[in-house]
Symmetry: D2
Subunit: 435 residues, 4 copies
C-alpha cells in the first residue's frame, strides 16, 4: 500500500486549492461517531444487506471509510502494520492504483468480518488517528484527513440511501426509524425568480475545503433565465402522471424512454398502490415504512429522465448547474439536513421572501449539466486523483444536498453526480425556464 497526495511537504496550503481547517481534533471523533449513530437502529442482520450493485452494505461503508484513513493516512508511517492483511482487498472501493479489490456486486456476501469485527477495526483506526491528531499531523496529512472526513460524510448519506433501497426489497417493509408525521396543508405557490445572466463566476474560492471538482473558480457566460421558487411537489408530479406522463414518448429523452419501457416505470421509485390497484391511492416507502404520498411534499426518488420529462411537460426545463449556483449561492445554508432526523423531504408551507426556497437539504436537484471538468481542472495528486475525475462521463450534476446529507457537508459550489437513470438517492426537481 502506498498512496500519496503528491504535494510539497512544507506549506500552509500544500498544493491544494483550499485552506485546511484547524479543528480536525474535534471534528474527527464527532464525524466518526455520527456515522456510527446512523446504524444504531439496525439489527445485526441488516448490516450486510446489499440489494443492488450500486448500493453497499452498511457494514461495508463502516469498514471502507475506516480503510480510507488507514490507507491514505496511517499507512504512510513506515512502521504501520495493517489491522488485517486482507482488509485492504475487501474494503477498497475503486482505487485501482492502490491495488486489487473485492468484486463490488459481492460485497453483500461478506458475512465475515462480523459487525463486531468491523467495530473493532474502527476503534483501532480511531485510536491511531486520534493519537496522530494529538501529535499534530503534517500539512500534507492534514489535507488528506480533511478529505477523509468529507469522504466519511458522503458515506453517511449512502448508508441511508442504500439501506432504504435494501429494506424496500423486503415484503415486510421494515421501519428504520419512526418518522415525524407530516404537517397538513398546501404547498406555497410556485413563483419565478428572474436572473439577468451575463458574465458570471462559479466554483469554489478556496476559503475552506472543497473537492477538486469544484475548482477552479472561473467565468461563464449566462443568458437571462428564471428559476422556480421552490421544489416540484408530489401533487404537481401526480398531475404529470395523470396526464399520461409515463405513456407519452414525446416528453422523454430517447434513453429515458427506453428505461421507462424496459423497467415498466409508472411512478417515482418507492411509490406503489395496494395490490397494484389503479384506483388505490399512491403510497410510498420511506425510512419510516409505508406512508401515503403527500401532495405538498417535494417529489423525490426520480431519475434525471423523469425530472427532464416533467420539465418538458410543464413547458420548462431543468437549470444548468451554473444557473443554479449563481441563483442559490446567496441563500443561507439552512435546510432539512440529516441532523433534523426527518429522513424525508418536507413541504414548504409558508415561504418567507421571494426565495429561491428549499435550495439546501430536502432533495438533491437534478441539473441539465453533464458532469465534467471545470476549465483548468486539476485532480488531486497520487491515488486520490481517482476520487472524482475518473467519473466525468455519462453522469449529471445534482446540487443542494438532501435530507440525508450532513449539514456541514453542503455548500453552494458542491457538485454531486449520478447517472441519469439513478433513482435511489433523494433526488428531486427544480424547474427553470427562459424568461
Amino acid at each position: 500500500m502506498s498512496a500519496s497526495l503528491d504535494v510539497p511537504a512544507a506549506s500552509s496550503r500544500p498544493g491544494i486549492p483550499w485552506v485546511p481547517a484547524a479543528d480536525l481534533i474535534e471534528r474527527y471523533p464527532a464525524i466518526r461517531a455520527a456515522t456510527r449513530a446512523l446504524t444504531d437502529p439496525l439489527e445485526i442482520e441488516d448490516y450486510g444487506l446489499q440489494s443492488m450493485t450500486e448500493a453497499s452494505p452498511a457494514k461495508w461503508h463502516l469498514a471502507h471509510t475506516t480503510w480510507f484513513f488507514e490507507t491514505f493516512v496511517l499507512a504512510r508511517e513506515s512502521d504501520h502494520v495493517p489491522f488485517h492483511p486482507r482488509y485492504g482487498y475487501l474494503f477498497n472501493s475503486y482505487y485501482e492504483t492502490v491495488g486489487r479489490m473485492h468484486s463490488r456486486p459481492k460485497r453483500g456476501l461478506l458475512t465475515r468480518p462480523t459487525v463486531a469485527d468491523v467495530q473493532r477495526y474502527r476503534d483501532h483506526v480511531d485510536h491511531a488517528m486520534n493519537r496522530l491528531l494529538g501529535e499534530g499531523p503534517s500539512p500534507e496529512l492534514t489535507a488528506v484527513i480533511e478529505v477523509g472526513l468529507h469522504h466519511e460524510q458522503q458515506h453517511q448519506e449512502l448508508i441511508l440511501t442504500d439501506l432504504k433501497h435494501g429494506l424496500s426489497c423486503n415484503p415486510l417493509r421494515p421501519v428504520y426509524r419512526e418518522l415525524p408525521a407530516p404537517t397538513e396543508g398546501e404547498a406555497s405557490p410556485l413563483t419565478w425568480l428572474e436572473h439577468p445572466g451575463g458574465l458570471m463566476e462559479i466554483g469554489h474560492q478556496g476559503e475552506s475545503f472543497g473537492f477538486d471538482n469544484e475548482f477552479p473558480r472561473h467565468r461563464t457566460y449566462l443568458r437571462s433565465f428564471a428559476l422556480g421558487s421552490r421544489l416540484t411537489t408530489c401533487g404537481e408530479y401526480l398531475e404529470f402522471m395523470a396526464d399520461g406522463g409515463y405513456q407519452r414518448s414525446d416528453l422523454w429523452l430517447s434513453a429515458g424512454w427506453d428505461v421507462v419501457q424496459r423497467e415498466g416505470w409508472q411512478a417515482p421509485l418507492y411509490w406503489e398502490r395496494e395490490g397494484d390497484d389503479p384506483d388505490a391511492p399512491w403510497q410510498c416507502f420511506t425510512l419510516g415504512g409505508m406512508r401515503p404520498v403527500h401532495p405538498a411534499e417535494p417529489v423525490c426518488h426520480v431519475s434525471l429522465y423523469e425530472a427532464d420529462a416533467f420539465a418538458r411537460w410543464r413547458g420548462c426545463r431543468l437549470p444548468t448547474e451554473a444557473e443554479w449556483e449563481v441563483a442559490c449561492a446567496p441563500r443561507p445554508l439552512h435546510g432539512n439536513f440529516v441532523e433534523r432526523s426527518a429522513f424525508h423531504p418536507v413541504a414548504l408551507r409558508q415561504a418567507r421572501g421571494p426565495g429561491p426556497h428549499q435550495t439546501f437539504g430536502d432533495v438533491w436537484e437534478w441539473t441539465a449539466s453533464a458532469y465534467g471538468p471545470y476549465p483548468g481542472f486539476r485532480p488531486l495528486g497520487g491515488s486520490l486523483a481517482e476520487y472524482n475525475g475518473k467519473f466525468m462521463c455519462n453522469q449529471l450534476v445534482l446540487r443542494g444536498g438532501s435530507c440525508a446529507t450532513p449539514a456541514s457537508h453542503a455548500r453552494a459550489t458542491y457538485r454531486n453526480f449520478f447517472p441519469p437513470e439513478a433513482r435511489w438517492q433523494f433526488s428531486g426537481i427544480r424547474l427553470a425556464r427562459d424568461p
Copy 2:
C-alpha cells in the same frame, strides 16, 4: 392456504405406497433439533448468506421447513391462525398451487425476520406440532408429517452445501467447524465387480417411507456390467487433469464442453492453487477451511459433465441408476454420513471384502440416468404433487448419499437429482463398464 394430500381419510395406509411409522412423536423433535444444531457454529451474519440463486440462506431453510409443517399440517385445522400473515409468501419454495411466493434469487435480501424471529417461529410451530403428535394425528396427517420430516432432512444437507458455497465466496475463507485431520496412506486398489444382468427389479417396496419418485417397484432388463469397487479418488482425478482432461473436447458432452469454456473450469469446484500459480499444489476449500487435496480421498464437487468426461477418459462409463441399485442394494446401510461430523468424504484405506465399498455416505454418485418417472409413477396428491414430479426434466439421478446426509435419510432406492452442471453438492464418481 389450502393444501391436501388428497387421500382417503380412514385407512392404515391412506393412498400412499408406504407404511407410515409409529415413532413420529420421538423423531419429530429429534430431527428438528438436528437442524438447529447444524447452525450452531454460525455467526448471526452468516444466517442470511445467499451466494447464488440455487443456494438459500440458512435462515430461510430454518423457516421454510417450519412453513412446510405449518402449511401442510397445522393449516388444515379450521381454527389455525398463521404465525405471521406474510410468512406464507416469504417461505414457500416452489408450491405454485399454494400461492405466490418471494423471488428465489432475493432470499438473501430478507434481513427481517431476524434469526431470533425465525427461532420463535420454529418454537411456535414445534409447540403446536408436539401437541398434535401427542393427540395422535389422523393417518393422512401422519403421512404428511412423515413427508415433512424427510423434507427437513433434505434441507439439513442443503444448509451445509449452501453455506459451504457462501463461505467459499469470502476471501477470508471462514471455517464452519474444524475438521478431523485426514489419515495418511494410499487408497485401496480399484477392482471390478461383475454383475450378470437379466430381468431385475428396482424401486421401493413400501415397507417404510419412500418418496413418490421411488415407486412403483418394477422390472427392468439389464445387460451384464461391471461396477467399480470404490469411489474415484482425487489422485485418479489429478491424472485426468494432468493428461489434459479439461483441454480435450473429445472427452466431453457437447453441453459440458460449452460450460468448461464459458466458466473456465480447470478443476473441481473449490479447488485452487495459491496465487493461481500452475506449479503450486492444489488446495481445496472445505467446511474446515482451506486444505491440501489428498490423493486418497474421493474426488468431490464435480458436475455430471466432469464425471462423464473422466469416465470416458478412463475408457469406462457411469453406471445407470438401475445398475447402481441392483449392485448396491445388498450392501449394509453404513457410511460417512453427517452424524460423523467429518463434513468431507473420507479415503478408503483398507477394503474388507470385494465391495462395492463407499456406496452410502461420502459423496452422491452421479449416474448416467436422466431423472424421470418410473413406469406407473403416480405423484402424491394435492399440493405435494409438486414435490418431485415436476422436476423430471434436464436432471440426472445421483445415488447413495453423502457426508452431509443424515444416516436415517439414506436408502438404496433413494433418487437424488441435480442438473448436469451442478457442482456445489458433495457429488462424486463411481465408474462402471461393460464386461
Copy 3:
C-alpha cells in the same frame, strides 16, 4: 484436416453395425439435387437469413453439407487441395476434433461467399465425388459417404424449418411456396391401442443404414400400455388452451412453467391473432404464409413442455421411445413426407384399420424419453464420433419424421432429439396412457 472413421480397411462391413448400400452412384446425385431443389423458391436475399442461434442460413446448409463430403471423404486423398482455404473454418458445424470453426450465432453475417460461390463449391465437390463413386470407393469410404447422404437429408429438413422461422420474423409474412388448401371435415376419432408389454427388443438390426445411436438392438422390459390411434389435433389443443392450459402451473414441468412465464407463451409457435385481439380467431404462419388454424390438423410446433402439459391435462402421458417403437415398427413406412410438398401436417379424415395412424411423416412425436446411449452403445470412430453421442444430455427423443423429412430418411428406429423447449421443428403430440 484429418478425420477418420477408424475402421478396419478391408471388410465388406467395416466395423460398422449396418450393411452399406450398393446404390450410392445413383443416390448421391439425387439427394444432392433434392437439397438444391428445396432452395429454388428463394430470393438471393433469403439464403443468408439466420433468425436465431439454433437456426442456420440456407446458404450455410448448402455449404456445410458439401464441406462434410470434402472433409471426411475427399480430404483423405493425399493430393487433395481444398476448394478454398477458409471454407473449412466457415462451414464446420461442431466437429471440434477437425479444427476451429466460425461462431454459430454469426453464420448469418457471412454475406460472402455469395450464393453463386457456394453453388460453385457444390459443383466442384460433386464433380470429384461423382468421379470417386465411378471409380468405386473403398468399403470404409463407402460407409462415410452413406453417412454423408443421411447427413445431407437431415439438413434438407433443417433448411425448411430454419427458413420458416426466419420468414416468420418478417412482418410481411413472406410465402415460401403456395400450399395446397386443406380438405374440409373433422378428424377421425381418437381411439386407444393396447399393448401387453413384456420383454421386448428395440433398436436397429443393421440390415441397412442406421445412425450409431440406433444401435445395438437390445432387450427392454415394458409394462402394458395404450397408445393413441392418431396425432393430437389443433382442435383438441384449442380445448386445452380454452381450459387455461397456459395459466395452470400444476399442469407443467417446473422448467416448462419457467419458460411459459419468461417467454409469455400462450399458444404454439407461429400462432397469432390479428392485432393480438383475444376474440379474433387463431391464425398460424406456414411455409405458405398466414392461414387459419384448422381444428382437424395435427397440432405442430409445440415444445416437449407443451406436449407434456397437454398430456397431463388429458389425464394421459407421452409414450416412451420404446413404447413408440414396439407399437409403430409394424406400420408401413408411408406418410406425409417432404416429397408430397404439403410442407404442413395433414388431417386424418378417415382412418383405415385400428392404427396407429400418422406414425410416419406429418410431425415428429415427442416422447418421454431422455436422449441417451442404448446399452452397449459405441459411437462411430474418428471425428464422426462427434456425430451423435456428445449430445446425449438435456435432450428428448422424437420419433416418426415430419412433413419436412425425406421419405427415405425415415424409419421406425430413428431417434431424433431436441431440447425440451425447442419449437421450431415440426413437432407434435401422440398420447399414451396406462391401460
Copy 4:
C-alpha cells in the same frame, strides 16, 4: 401517418432559423443518386448485412431515407397512397410520434422487400418528389425537403461505416473497393496553436441550412488554450500502446476502464495481428481489405475513452467543442471527404502554414463536450422534434467530418454525437492543452 414541422405557412423563412436554399431541384436527384452509387460495389447478399444493433443494413438505409421523404413530405398531400402499407412500420427508425416501428436489432432479418423492391420504392418516391419540386413546394415543405437531403447524407456516411463493420465480421475480409496506396513518408510535426480565449460566439448564424442543435448562435466564455496543429497519428498511438496504454487504469475514465476490461480492448477497432502473435506487425481492416497500419496516417476507430486516455497519457486533454469551433471555423472547408474515394484517413505529409490542419474530413474529432442543448435551443416542430433533441444525454460531440462524409454536409458548426464507447465511425483524436 401525420407529421408536421409546425411552422407558419406563409413566410420566406418559416419558423426555422436558417434560409432555405433555392436549388433543391438540382440537389435532390444528385444526392439521391450519390446514395445509390455508394452501394454499387455490393453483392445482393451484402445489402441485408446487420452486424450489431447500432448498425443497419445498406438496404434499410436505402429504404429509410426514402421513407423519410414519403412520410414527412409526400404523405402531407391528402390523396397520398403509401407505396406499401407496411413500409411505414418497417422503415421508421425512431420517430415514436409517427407510429410503431420494427425492432432495430432485427433489421437484418428483413430479406424481403428485396433489393429490387427497395429500388422500385426509391424510384417511386423520387418520381413523386421530382414532380413536386418541379411544381414548387411550399416554404414549409421546402424546409422539410432540405432536412431530408441532409438526413440522406447522414445515412450515406452510415452506409459506409455500417458496411465496414459488417464486412469486418467475415473471416474472408471482403473488399468493398480497392483503395489507393498510401504515400510514403513521415507525418508533418505536431505543433501547438495558441488561442487567447475570451467571450466568444459559437453556433450557426442561419445564412444557410443547419440542424436545430447548431442553434442559436450564442456567447460562451473561453480561457486561453492551445490546439494541436494536426490529428494524432497511428505512430503516436502505437507509442501509447507500447507504453502500456491499455494496461494502466490511471489513464482511463472509470467507465472506459470497465469497457477495456470487459471487451479486452488492446488496440483501435479493426486492428489485428496475424495469428494474434504479439510480435507480428499491426494490420487494420479497411474498406479496401486488410492493410498494414501506417504510422503517418491519422489514428481512427477509437472511442472517446481511448481518445481521452491517449490525451491524458500525453499530458494533454481533448478540446471542448467551443474551443474546436472558434479555432477551426476560419479554416477553408476542404478535406478528405467521401468524394475523394479514399475511404480512409490520409497522412499529412507537408503542412502549409500553421494550421490547424485536417480540420475537415479524414476523421471525426472527439471533443470533451457532452452533447446537450445550446442555451435557448428550440427543437424543430412536429415529429421532427425527435430528430436531435431527444438524444442529448450520454453522448459526446464530435467535430469536423470524415473520409465518409459528403463534402457538402460538413461545416464548422456541425455537431455530430455518439456514445463514448462507439468505435465504428471514422473517429479520431486532436489534442488540446492549457497554455
